[in-house]
């Protein structure tokens, strides 16, 4: 079956611009996670949804970061007024039973 998909794969934004990153999880997966991966580092947790409920957003670095999953499937991570330090790969994962399965990520470059 289809895996986790993310779009766009690459995004270049000017500093101060708003961006929206999309995640389509594996069909039927209730849980969805967002992670941020800086160059040379492991992914770091941002936020977690169970269905449409955002149960944990402790990893969001600032109030410029906002995530939603209004119908319990597709999720969007929005970053307002992007800064250079937001440049990273943003990974989405969905969980079936035990294991999180990752999408290919969106590489964001803020100039």
């Amino acid at each position: 079956g289809a895996g986790v998909s993310q779009s766009p794969r690459y995004k270049v934004a000017k500093r101060g611009q708003d961006v929206a990153l999309r995640c389509d999880p594996i069909s039927g997966h209730v849980s969805l996670f967002w992670y941020q991966q800086a160059l040379g580092q492991g992914p770091e947790f941002l936020t977690y949804f169970q269905n449409e409920a955002q149960l944990d957003k402790s990893g969001l670095p600032s109030d410029r970061f906002f995530a939603e999953r209004p119908e319990g499937s597709v999720s969007t991570l929005k970053i307002q007024r992007t800064q250079q330090e937001d440049s990273a790969v943003y990974l989405c994962a969905s969980r079936g039973w035990e294991t999180q399965y990752f999408g290919p990520g969106t590489r964001l470059l803020v100039l």
């Binding site: 993310q6 849980s31 996670f33 992670y35 492991g42 999180q100 399965y101 990752f102 290919p104």
Partner: protein
């Protein structure tokens, strides 16, 4: 503080030999551990996992060992193949499906 550490940034192994990747953790609440493999420009791909109630889990060429007293786990790949060349991430969670805490990764290069 880094709760999951992979102290070897890179490892080079000859094809056919064993690759051993190591991972240490500090949080005693972690009870589920996973290894992911990552190729450039792709997302992490799940390899193998282990629950804290076990000390070994095997899947084909991949075996994960868990030493709870030492808070240490390792991934053994036997025999190593050139296609195994990738970045390997160790990850831990405090329960099934909870958020994952990752190490910084180890670059494995398998030479033919």
């Amino acid at each position: 503080d880094q709760q999951v550490k992979q102290n070897s940034p890179s490892l080079s192994v000859q094809e056919g030999r064993i690759s051993i990747l190591n991972c240490d953790y500090t949080n005693s609440m972690f009870d589920y551990f996973l290894w992911y493999k990552k190729y450039p420009a792709e997302g992490p791909t799940f390899l193998i996992s282990i629950s804290s109630i076990k000390d070994k889990n095997e899947d084909g060429r991949f075996t994960v060992f868990l030493n709870k007293s030492a808070k240490h786990l390792s991934l053994h790949i036997v025999p190593s193949q050139p296609g195994d060349s990738a970045v390997y991430f160790c990850a831990a969670s405090g329960g099934y499906g909870n958020k994952l805490v990752f190490g910084a990764g180890t670059i494995l290069r398998v030479k033919s």
